[in-house]
């Protein structure tokens, strides 16, 4: 079995910051907007190098989304930065009308998604954002798993013409994907080959899926782990090809089971090849204060939960 290791942990938001800084150097049309969270979004390098292309909006996210939409008229490629909660739920109608329905080339970049935001608690821990964003016609939805992938995704979405929701997080997590990778929107990545179960994960849960697959291997279960960084458009082929072999699937995400990756996968399977599926996700609940590890343990979003879900789904084959 192919195994993955890491030498350091880094936050995915820093990957965003590095990607944005790179874009600042290579693409003169890229502009950035922030609603009073420059440090949290790691936008400092872009701002230092391109002060004229940065717009500090203040604590006014609705205005930020509208201004971003307006900036596209004139050929700019705006990247907005704030927490995932304030990037989606707070500004849903602005995104819906001024960006998605208007077909504007805005990149909505959202940090601190999910439970791993930690101690700030449920007001800031959005677990519904993937659902909100994927329901908007024409919106691309991406949730990256580590620093390198987030950096690559940030660079790649500038080349994509259309609105994108890019979701990443706060905590330092293992860096295990290649440096300087090419990011292909809508193309899943098979991380391990396996025959017994397909594990499809997104964001911070990808590493947990790899950890789970190691333990499962020791138990004699061969898992095929797929990194689905793009929830919409979903790489249906990589999922269907895998379940044709394994006959069962576990989906894993730092999001409510309603509206998330799991639901998109379930729809694909129901349409093309009904397959037993277990969902590793939050169970229609809000989060709470705690350390990221405590929260992921309490709400069942780690390798242990993936192993339990796998054992359960294997019995349903």
């Amino acid at each position: 079995m192919k195994t993955y290791t890491y030498t350091e942990k880094k936050d995915t938001r820093s990957g965003f910051g590095a990607g944005l800084a790179e874009l600042g150097r290579t693409n003169p049309n890229v502009v950035a907007l922030c609603a009073d969270l420059i440090g949290s979004l790691k936008m400092n390098d872009f701002i230092a190098e391109n002060p004229e292309r940065f717009f500090q909006i203040g604590i006014a996210e609705a205005n930020m989304m509208g201004i971003a939409a307006g900036l596209t008229i004139g050929g700019k490629i705006p990247f907005t930065g704030t927490f995932a909660n304030f990037s989606t739920g707070r500004v849903y109608d602005q995104i819906r009308q001024s960006i998605a329905y208007s077909g504007k080339n805005v990149k909505i970049c959202a940090s601190h998604a999910g439970l791993t935001l930690g101690e700030d608690g449920a007001t800031h821990q959005i677990l519904e954002d993937i659902g909100l964003m994927k329901m908007l016609p024409g919106m691309t939805v991406i949730n990256t798993c580590d620093y390198n992938q987030t950096k690559a995704a940030t660079i790649a979405i500038a080349e994509h013409n259309g609105p994108v929701y890019l979701r990443f997080g706060r905590p330092k997590v293992p860096v295990f994907t290649p440096e300087n990778q090419t990011f292909e929107i809508g193309k899943g990545i098979k991380l391990t080959e396996g025959n017994d179960v397909t594990i499809v994960a997104t964001g911070h849960l990808v590493w947990e899926a790899l950890e789970a697959s190691k333990e499962l291997y020791e138990k004699g279960i061969s898992a095929e782990v797929i990194n689905i960084h793009t929830i919409k458009p979903l790489d249906e082929k990589i999922i269907l090809d895998s379940v044709a072999k394994t006959k069962c699937i576990v989906t894993a995400e730092e999001h409510n089971y309603l509206g998330g990756l799991g639901e998109s996968v379930a729809r694909t399977l129901a349409t093309h090849n009904p397959t037993p599926q277990e969902f590793v996700a939050t169970q229609d609940t809000f989060g709470e204060s705690g350390t990221p590890d405590q929260l992921m343990e309490k709400y069942g979003l780690n390798s242990k939960s993936i192993i339990s879900a796998t054992e359960k789904v294997l019995k349903r084959k």
Binding site: V31, E52, R53, F55, I57, G58, A60, A62, N63, M64, M65, G66, I67, A68, A69, G70, L71, T72, I73, G74, G75, K76, P78, D93, Q94, R96, Q97, S98, Y101, S102, G103, K104
Partner: protein, 281 residues
């Protein structure tokens, strides 16, 4: 024909278009549309510099954003009669498979429209973004926008109004249609906004009053003054006092025709008060 006569004729013709469009589909918003007819005619025929071909990016021309998208009848009529799309297409207003949606949208590719509007309060932010893009592109042209007065009750406007002065967005002329009416009644009764002029001034804007917002000459004079005030490190607001339903006597001075179409008899009266000038579509 003198230029001013042509504009007067156009105003009458646009009123007829508005009445006929909403009557045909028994829906739409004639009141605010009629109230802003003179403004749109002046804006698209005298005030704005426009390129011959429509291009979304609008480089090298003035741009207009309609925030109160429900007054689409006047917008569509004036766009068509300014050459953005065939006048006959006004026949398709609000019909299935039309580019002339109930509220304006870029989605169907209608030339002249650069943003969807309808859900209120979003246009000021968009206009500011477009104005800042113009600055980045070293394009000296201006951004114009129109907002309803009732629409100012949406909080996003005040985020935008605060931002525009703080960031010295001085290539923007945002016009507020002060007709004093909204769906549920007079703005003063629904939610009294107090002194709108003082509010804009307190937020750091230059404010120009156009007391006779249904008088072409007054509009041209006021908008010229507004243009002169651009480039002074401050955004410019025009308070345009209009009469809702202007030009059709029974529709004037009331919110009753905000979102209601005339019946056959009412249409006939309205058209009689505005005899055909440039030809019906």
């Amino acid at each position: 024909m003198s230029k001013s006569q042509h504009l007067e004729d156009l105003v009458i013709q646009v009123r007829r278009d508005i009445l006929r469009m909403v009557h045909k589909v028994n829906s739409g918003h004639p009141g605010g549309s009629l109230g802003c007819t003179e403004f749109f005619v002046a804006l698209y025929n005298e005030i704005m510099e426009q390129n011959d071909e429509f291009n979304m990016d609008g480089i090298g021309e003035d741009l207009f954003f309609l925030s109160n998208g429900h007054i689409s009848p006047v917008y569509y009529s004036v766009l068509a009669r300014t050459g953005y799309f065939p006048v006959e297409e006004l026949n398709t207003f609000r019909l299935i498979n039309s580019r002339l949606q109930g509220h304006p949208t870029t989605h169907e590719g209608l030339p002249g429209i650069r943003i969807a509007s309808g859900s209120l309060g979003q246009g000021m932010s968009v206009a500011i973004g477009a104005a800042q893009a113009k600055k980045l592109n070293n394009d000296k042209h201006l951004i114009y926008s129109l907002h309803g007065d009732g629409e100012l009750q949406e909080g996003q406007n005040w985020e935008a109004i605060m931002y525009a002065s703080a960031k010295k967005v001085d290539n923007l002329i945002a016009t507020v249609d002060l007709n004093g009416q909204q769906i549920d009644g007079a703005t003063d009764d629904v939610l009294d906004m107090g002194d709108v002029k003082s509010k804009f001034e307190a937020f750091g804007w230059i404010v120009i009053d156009i007391e006779e917002g249904n008088n072409l000459e007054a509009i041209l004079k006021g908008m010229a003054e507004a243009k002169n005030k651009t480039g002074q490190q401050k955004p410019v607001c025009v308070l345009l006092k209009t009469v809702m339903g202007n030009g059709v006597d029974f529709m004037m001075h009331t919110h009753a025709w905000h979102g209601k179409a005339p019946n056959d008899e009412q249409l006939a009266i309205g058209l009689e008060q505005n005899p055909e000038t440039l030809g019906d579509y």
